[in-house]
Every structure is written in C-alpha cells, then in structure tokens.
C-alpha cells in the first residue's frame, strides 16, 4: 500500500484541448446540455395530448430546470395554434352568472372596441330617439287620449245622472251622487219632505248610478296598465328603429361567430325590454343627482370584459406564475365599495394563470404551490374538471355566504409543469393519490454529468453560452479550464461535472466583476480562482473559528505521536453555503462486560440513525471476527470527544473500529494520520461523502502547526475517483510534506495507523503472534475468562 500519486489527487483540465482563445469564439450551444433523460421526458410529456400527462420536473435547485423546461416548451409552443380569446359578458337572464364567449385569437380586442363604439352610439341614439319631437308628440297624444277617455267615462255618467236629476260631485277623496232636481242639490229638510216612494226611487236611482261609478273607478287600474303597455310598445318601436341599424352593422361583422351573434341578439332584446328604464334615467327628480344612474352607467352593462387577449401571442402561450396563490391561479371576482357596501358585476371578473395559459402551458414552483392555502386543491380540481370555475375562498370554505357571481366555467386545455425537488415529488407521490393521476410524467434532472472528452467540450460551450447570455466578458482558455475544474469539484466526484448551473453562473459573474474592476476585456484564470476563493472566504468564519480553537488547544486534536484508543476521525460541517471538514478526536474504552458497545453519542441522544447504525455494524463486526465460539465479554464505549452537536452518518465507523481495536490490543495509533471511511460487517471499507473537504480540513490543522512529512489522511479505496483537492494540498503532497492513502478494509487501515501487522487468521482461526488481531483476540479471551470466573463465584455464593 502506497500513498496516492499527485496525479490522482486532482483532475487537471488542459486548456489546450480548446481550439479557441476565448469563449467569444465558441459557437453557441443551442441544444439542452447534460440532461438527456430529463429532456426526453419533457419532450414526451409535452407531445402527448392525453389527460393526466402533466409534468413534474424534479431535481435540486439551481440545475436550470426552469430554463430547460421553458426552452423545450418554447420549441413546441411555437408550432402550435394560438388559442382563443375569451371574454365575459352580462347574462341578462341571470345577472349572477356571466357568460363566457370564445373568440378567434386577436379578435377579442376588436370585439371589445366595437362594443364600446356601439355603446357610445347608443348613448347618443337612445336619448335622441326618446326625446325626439315625433316620439314626444306621440306620447303626449297618447296621454291626452287616455285622459280624455277617462274624463269621458266620468262625464258620460255625470250627464246621465243629470238626466235622472242626480248630480255627480267630486270630493277630496272620491265622488258623491246627490239628488238635484233642477240642477240644485236638495237640502236634507227638502229631501225629507218628499214622499216615501219618491225617496225610495231617488235612492234606487242613486244606488244604480253608484254601481256604475264604482265600475268606472274599478276599471282605472286596468286602463292604466293598458296605457303603460301602449307607451312601452311605442317606446320600443321608436328605440327599435334607432338602435336596429346600429346593431345590424355589428351583427353583420360577427355573423360567423355564433356566440357573439347570440349575445348581440340578447343585448338587443334586453335594451328593448328596458326601454322604460332608459326613459326614467333622466327623469327622476326625486333621486339625488349623485346617486342617479346615468345612461352611460346603464349601458355599461353591455360592455365586454376581455378576460384573455391573445392578439400578441404567437403559438401556444407559456405562462410562469411566480406567486401561485389560489386566486392567482383560478382567477377572482373583485368587488368595489359603493356607499359603504361591496358590489360586483361581470366586469370585475379577473383572469388567473390557468386562463392565461389555456391552450398552452403553465409552469409552477411546486413548493410555492403547496404552501399556498387551497391552491393545490384548486389546481387539481380544475385539471380533473377540465374547466376553470371561479369560486371565492370565502364561498368555498363557507365563511362568507353573501350573494356573489358564478361566472360560467371556461373549458381548460392546459399542460402544467411543476418544478420541485425530489423530496416534494416523492412525498406527493406517496401521500396524494391524485398526484399520480394528474402528473404521470416525471422529468428527472441530474445533479451531475459524466466527465468525458466529449462532455468536456460540450461543457465548455455551455459555459461560453452562459457567459454570453449573462452578458459577461469572454473567458480565456485557462479561465475556462479553471471553471471546468471547479465544476468537477462541485460534483464531489472527479469523474463528473456538476450541473448546478446557478452556482457556476455565480462564479462566472464574480470573476467577471474582478476582471471588469481591473478594466480588462477578458476573464482570466486567476479571476476564476479568486472568485472561488472569495466565495469560500465569505462563508469561512465558522471554519476559521474552529481551527483557531484547535490551534489554541481548546479543541484537543493531536497531530503527532501515538495514542492507544484514540484516533483522528474526520467530519464535514455544512451550514448554509459553508461546507468544510474538520478532524474529530474519537476515543474508545473497554472493560469487562456482556458484549455491549456503547455509543455515547446515542446515549446522550446526540447520535443520528446513520451513526447509530454504523456503531451497530462495528459491534457486529467485532462479534463476527472474535466471538464465533466465545461470548463477547466486554463493555466498550465510543465517543466523539468535545462534540456537543448531533453526529450522523457512518463515515466514522472505520475510525471508531480502529480506536476500539487499539483499546483492545493496546497498540497505539499514530495521531498524525486521520482516517475516514464507512465499514460493513466484514470489515470492508465503503465510500463516504465530502472526502475533499475532510482531507483539506485535516491538512489545514497540520499545516497550521507545520507539516512534518509523516502526516496524512486515509480514505477508502472506493473514494479514489472522488479526489479534487486544493492546489496547496496537492503541492504539499508533491513535496512530500503530506500524503493521501487509500485502504480497502479495517486491517489495512490499522496497519497504516499502528505500523503493526494486522494478522490474518489461519484455518483454525488463530492469528499470527504479535499481530493486532492476535492481541485483540487474546484480550477478549482474558475478559471472557474473567467473566466466567466471576459468574461461577456468584453462583457459588448464592448456593
């Protein structure tokens, strides 16, 4: 086993592989790069026109999901037909249910303008017609005719009464009929003087006349109704003539659009039905001017509420709703405050994102959607129903029961693309049965991309395209090479490029800033290195603080000499954008016991499940190797010294095992070497994450104290291809002041750490003398014997 060569510690991107001097000479990358699976899924999901084939684009933030989705949608949308315009109009038979009308794309505005012009014409034509001399003359004629008829009826009766020597007189509240021979009403004494027969005759005559008078009065309401009907008919005829030709022009224009034609016919009918209202609009002196409805206000009920205008849209619409609240998606019915009350009508219906995207595509952020109350439910309901129905949240939750509008639902034909991370996707899939029904296509965006010579070239073009889109200075070949190296470092795997576009773009922007600050015309390699270093430095306060404590000896980390039962493990701390490695002192103790390996972290409830699992595996390994034919008679304790936070992950299980074996065997472990790695039950090493940060963290501690040349880090063999170390580490290795070495199992790790052979069991299971395993086995045997002895004595004492 030898330390790794320098070439294995970091991938070096050769700038000479690029044919151009600067990225301004690179051809633009027109296709989507590095997300073949996701793009294929997207294209399939976009093309298939079946119900339920909406798309969920999943992947970490910053991988360019939205950009890729919009590009794929744009390719398809441009070839599709532009969807209809939509408008809401008044429903004259039920004002609460405005009607939706679809129009050819681009004609919504024209229709609205035509209606506005028609209303303006009507505003002039209606009063002109109703106030015309002809109309007024005819009305007055009707009035006089009717009044004369009424007078005639009464006069006729009065004349008849006169012939019967009865006079009909008017009282303040009605009429009386009194005997009046010779035209003079009789006084009571004169009446009394008449004979009984005469009085009876007069009374009978008066009775008969009263009945006739009653019949005339009873007919008055009916006569008035007839008169009103005649007036209404007259007004309608006048109005019909005035508005007829105006409406027929617009009807002719829209004769091929049936819904519009239907609306215009209903509008005409409504105008004629409301003819009395138009007359009364101006003639109501008892109503204060400020509340009197004007003709314009009445006619505004015939206006058009243009909900969706696709006159500027080319192809299918693509809509991204950045605030997907319920009402922003479904639309809303707004209200106005008027004299202290809230009122609404069809003109206050507002479109939501689903309306705007109808016939096309709607992009939403999944997390934002799910955090908005009722938005997810509203979206699902619309997709299931294939229509958008506006309903206020108040009505939906029955918190408010006021009369409101119920606009006619609009048929929905939209494909929804949700953007989110994997956790959201899997949670939705598991917990919401509707999700799998409605979002059958998942476009899985990869975090990284295989590093090959071909992908290297494409990646370079990709970086060049990003720089161009961001309007940054072009990069030199060297700068480009540094960016590619940084992309590899970000992926945590030397064989892969990170696809975290946002982070890379940030580096480019910051490098551009440095170059521009120096008034240069290109971004150079050093600008990139500086940008990366400065980003790290900005979030480096915590790491510096910890290392300062290590330097001062507050946190006890030894980097020289050897100790029994103590090993330097390695861990990675991540807080926000700060990610760094640091050594952790792991110690072990053993004593007589019943085979327990105590994870002190777990006992203190500071151990995460993965860490606990690692310790259990370690325990199982110990039993498997050394307790096949005898009980484990020890109690061991493992702890991360001076660690007071949660410890999780099993990347320290090799280190913990080494500490335990050292405690059992009594063989000291070199403190100048740190070890990291996960272990299975058979003692084989398994790869871990954050290997670069861990190595750099221990290197920094050693470098602070002065490198001795026999300090280094042990990593699992399976992590060899992940190495992308800092230049200073590489240089230290190159000059022999530090090393990085791989191992495959616990024995190899112990041999390096202890400098003693681990020993391999023979056929009888015995280990070579003076080997670590032999020492461990011997110790465990001794403990077992002691335990048996104590057990026998106790049994004896109990007897």
């Amino acid at each position: 086993m030898k330390p790794l060569p320098v070439s294995a510690l970091r991938w070096h991107c050769d700038p000479n592989q690029f044919e151009f001097e600067t990225t301004s000479q690179f051809p633009e990358l027109t296709c989507v790069f590095g997300q073949d699976r996701a793009v294929e899924s997207l294209r399939f999901g976009i093309a298939i026109r079946r119900e339920g084939y909406n798309i969920f684009a999943l992947g970490p933030q910053g991988t360019g999901k939205q950009t890729v989705v919009e590009r794929c949608l744009g390719e398809r949308a441009a070839q599709q037909t532009t969807p209809s315009d939509w408008c809401y109009v008044n429903n004259f038979s039920d004002l609460r249910r405005p009607l939706a009308i679809a129009l050819p794309p681009g004609s919504g505005v024209r229709f609205r303008d035509d209606i506005d012009e028609l209303i303006e014409d009507l505003t002039n034509a209606i009063p002109a017609a109703l106030e015309s001399e002809e109309h007024r003359a005819r009305l007055v004629e009707l009035e006089h005719e009717e009044d004369a008829q009424q007078d005639l009826a009464f006069q006729a009766l009065s004349d008849k009464a006169e012939t019967l020597q009865v006079q009909m007189l008017r009282t303040p509240g009605g009429f009386v009929l009194a005997p009046a021979p010779e035209g003079k009403v009789l006084e009571p004494p004169e009446f009394d003087k008449l004979s009984r027969d005469e009085r009876k005759r007069i009374e009978a005559t008066i009775e008969g006349l009263q009945k006739e008078l009653q019949a005339i009065v009873e007919q008055l309401p009916w006569r008035q109704k007839l008169f009103r009907d005649r007036v209404k008919t007259l007004r309608r005829d006048v109005l019909q003539y005035a508005i007829g030709h105006l409406l027929s022009q617009i009807k002719e224009k829209y004769k091929d659009v049936l819904p519009v034609l239907t609306y215009l016919q209903a509008m005409e009918k409504d105008i004629l039905e409301r003819v009395n209202e138009f007359q009364q609009v101006e003639e109501s002196p008892e109503i204060p001017q400020e509340v009197k409805p004007t003709l314009a206000l009445v006619l505004s009920e015939y206006e058009i509420n243009l909900l969706i205008d696709n006159s500027e849209t080319r192809g299918a619409p693509i809509v991204y709703e950045d605030h997907p609240s319920y009402h922003n998606l479904i639309g809303r019915v707004e209200q106005e405050s008027e004299m202290g009350a809230l009122t609404t009508d069809f003109s206050l219906v507002k479109a939501g994102a689903l309306h705007r995207a109808n016939g096309g595509y709607l992009i939403l952020d999944a997390r934002q959607l799910l955090t908005q109350p009722f938005a997810w439910e509203g979206l699902k309901r619309s997709l299931y129903a294939r229509s958008v129905r506006m309903e206020s949240l108040g009505d939906m939750t029955s918190l408010i029961s006021t009369v409101s509008l119920e606009p006619e639902p609009i048929p929905l034909d939209v494909k929804v693309v949700l953007l989110g991370n994997r956790l959201v996707y899997y949670l939705l899939y598991e917990e919401d049965a509707d999700f799998a029904e409605l979002f059958k296509v998942c476009a899985d965006f990869d975090d990284d991309l295989d590093r090959t010579p071909e992908s290297c070239q494409l990646y370079a073009r990709f970086i060049a395209s990003v720089a161009r889109q961001e309007k940054l200075l072009p990069l030199t070949r060297d700068a480009l090479a540094r960016v590619l190296e940084h992309a590899v470092r970000m992926s945590d795997d030397a064989q892969r490029f990170s696809m975290h576009v946002r982070s890379l773009t940030d580096v480019l922007r910051e490098a551009d800033f440095t170059a521009q600050s120096d008034h240069r015309s290109v971004i150079e390699a050093n600008d990139v290195v500086l940008a990366v270093d400065r980003q790290r430095h900005r979030s480096d306060r915590l790491r510096e603080r910890i290392h300062n404590e290590i330097r001062r000896g507050t946190i006890l980390i030894e980097t020289a000499g050897a100790r029994i039962a103590q090993v330097n493990g390695l861990s990675v701390l991540q807080m926000a954008d700060a990610r760094f490695g640091q050594p952790s002192r792991i110690t072990a103790t053993v004593r007589l016991g019943r085979g327990d390996v105590i994870n002190i972290e777990r006992e203190a409830e500071l151990s995460g499940p993965s860490h606990s699992k690692g310790v259990m595996i370690l325990t199982a390994f110990l039993g498997h190797r050394f307790a096949q034919e005898q009980p484990l008679s020890l109690t061991a304790s493992l702890v991360f010294e001076q660690s007071y936070g949660i410890v999780d992950g099993d990347s320290a299980s090799i280190a913990e095992t080494c500490a335990l074996l050292s405690a059992l065997s009594g063989v000291p472990i070199r403190q100048g070497i740190a070890v990291t790695g996960s272990m299975d039950q058979h003692g084989q090493s398994q790869p871990i994450g954050g290997v670069n940060e861990k190595i750099e963290g221990f290197f920094q501690v050693c470098a602070d104290r002065g490198l001795t040349g026999d300090q280094g880090v042990l990593i699992p063999e399976s992590n060899r291809d992940c190495l992308m170390l800092r230049q200073d580490v590489v240089q230290a290795v190159e000059s022999g002041r530090f090393f990085v070495q791989t191992y495959s199992n616990i024995d190899q790790a112990m041999e390096i750490l202890a400098g003693v052979s681990a020993g391999e069991a023979d056929e009888q299971g015995a280990y070579p003398p003076n080997s670590i395993n032999a020492f461990v086995a011997s110790r465990l045997k001794r403990l077992t014997d002691l335990r048996m002895k104590f057990g026998a004595e106790r049994e004896y004492n109990n007897l």
């Binding site: 003359a137 009305l139 009044d147 009424q150 007189l169 009282t171 009605g174 009429f175 009446f191 009263q210």
Partner: protein, 254 residues
C-alpha cells in the same frame, strides 16, 4: 300696488300654480291674493243620508257627512294657505287668503285684478295622480305667449312676458303667432331680433297646430290676454285648458 289673483279650489294643482304665481308677483311687485272656492253643493250633498262617497282609487263606498266634508275641505284650504304663506314670505311678497262659495270661473270673470291665475284642475273628474305623465318636462322652461295678431292686448301681454323672462334670466320666451306672422320684411327682422334676445317665434296656422304646440311645449307659465279668452272662438280656451300647466290672464275684462 297691483294685485295678482290666484283662484283655487280643493282640486287645484297648487304645486304648479304657486311657483308661477310667486314668479309673477315678484316680477310685477304685486300683492298675491288667493281666493279659495268652496263648493256649497258638495256640503249639501254630503248632508243627505242617501249619499255615500265612492273612493277615487279603490271604488269602496264610505259613509259621508257634511261635517266631515267641510272639515276635509277646510283642511285642504288651510294647507294651501300655509304653503302660500311660506312661499310668499320667502320672497317677501305681500299676500292674502280668502274663502268664498263662488266657482273659479266666477272668480276669474268677476275680479278686477290685473292678473288672474285660474286654478282649474287639469281634469274635472280625475286627480293629477291618476293622470299620465310620460314626459315630465322639456329641456327648457319657456314662457309661452299666445298671440292673436290684431288684438291690442297681445302687445301688452308680450311686454309683460318679456319682462318676466328677462328678470328671471332662466325662462325662455316663446311666442305662438297665429295665422302666420311672416308677411313683410320688417316682420322677419323683428323675428330675428327677437331670436337674438332669446325669444323664439313659432308660426301657427291652425287650431290643431296650436293645440299640438301647447301640448308639446308644456311651459312653466302661459300668459294670455283676457280679451282673447273672451273672443267668440273659444277653442283657444279649450286648448289652454288642455295644456295642463299654469295659465295667467292679463288685462281687465271690458
């Protein structure tokens, strides 16, 4: 001081008559005297046991007595008096109120007041609430003068009307010229001069046209010479009664 006489009864449309009377009295600096006509026949008829009142809207029969009729009529008279008092005092116009048993026509004929406003009800039988008003007002409120060319009182009436329109500033003067007034160039010049001053002259060639114009114009106040009404052709009288708006008769009867 000159006097304007307002002859009214229980059925007079005081809402229309009173503003017109106040306007005239104010312009003419005259006293406004209202004479309320009580119908004795009505009171006598109510005293008879065989008499019942038929409701004008409901046709229900009610018992009636002379006392109740008298009280009701008196209440109406008191109300009209109060309204006259309020309106006249507001304009600082001297006023008076009398009650008598003569009819409005008798009062109109027998008075020696310079100006008489007869308060005939718009219909002898039907109250104003039962009559039909489909077109309540015109866009302007003209004063109409009925002219019968050749009668001297016409010139006097025109003069009064001009004074009225000019003083108020808001009323327009319309002159209906019977038998066509455009016979000479001088008439045309007078017509255009009148138009410039805000008057409108409308030639009327027949009674039918006259009635139609009166019905359409529906003025605030109509001024007519009393001698015109006394003319043998009483169609003007009937035409004026049909216009359902206040009428003022100028001049004394000879």
């Amino acid at each position: 001081m000159s006097r304007i006489l307002l002859a009214i009864d229980a059925f007079s449309p005081l809402d229309q008559l009173l503003p017109a009377a106040i306007l005239l009295a104010s312009r003419q600096h005259a006293e406004l005297l209202a004479v309320f006509s009580q119908d004795n026949s009505l009171i006598r008829s109510a005293a008879l046991l065989c008499t019942q009142e038929i409701g004008a809207n409901s046709a229900i029969r009610y018992p009636v007595s002379s006392t109740s009729i008298e009280k009701r009529v008196q209440r109406i008279a008191d109300g009209m008096r109060q309204r006259l008092s309020t309106a006249a005092d507001r304009q600082q116009i001297p006023w008076g109120f009398q009650q008598c048993f003569s009819s409005i026509s008798q009062i109109t004929t027998e008075t020696d007041a310079e100006i008489v406003i007869p308060g005939w009800s718009v219909s002898p039988w039907v109250g104003p609430e039962s009559l039909h008003r489909t077109s309540r007002r015109t866009s302007t409120n003209p004063v109409i003068l009925v002219i019968d060319d050749g009668l001297p009182c016409s010139a006097h009436v025109i003069e009064v009307a001009r004074g009225l329109a000019g003083a108020s500033g808001k009323l327009q003067l319309i002159i209906l010229g019977l038998h066509a007034a455009f016979k000479s160039g001088s008439d045309r010049q007078r017509m255009s001069a009148h138009v410039r001053k805000g008057e409108i002259r409308i030639p009327v060639a027949s009674m039918g046209q006259l009635i139609r114009q009166l019905q359409l114009l529906c003025p605030t106040l109509t001024l007519v010479g009393r001698e015109q009404l006394a003319a043998t052709d009483n169609q003007i009288h009937k035409a004026l009664r049909s216009i359902k708006c206040p009428l003022a008769l100028l001049g004394r009867m000879h």
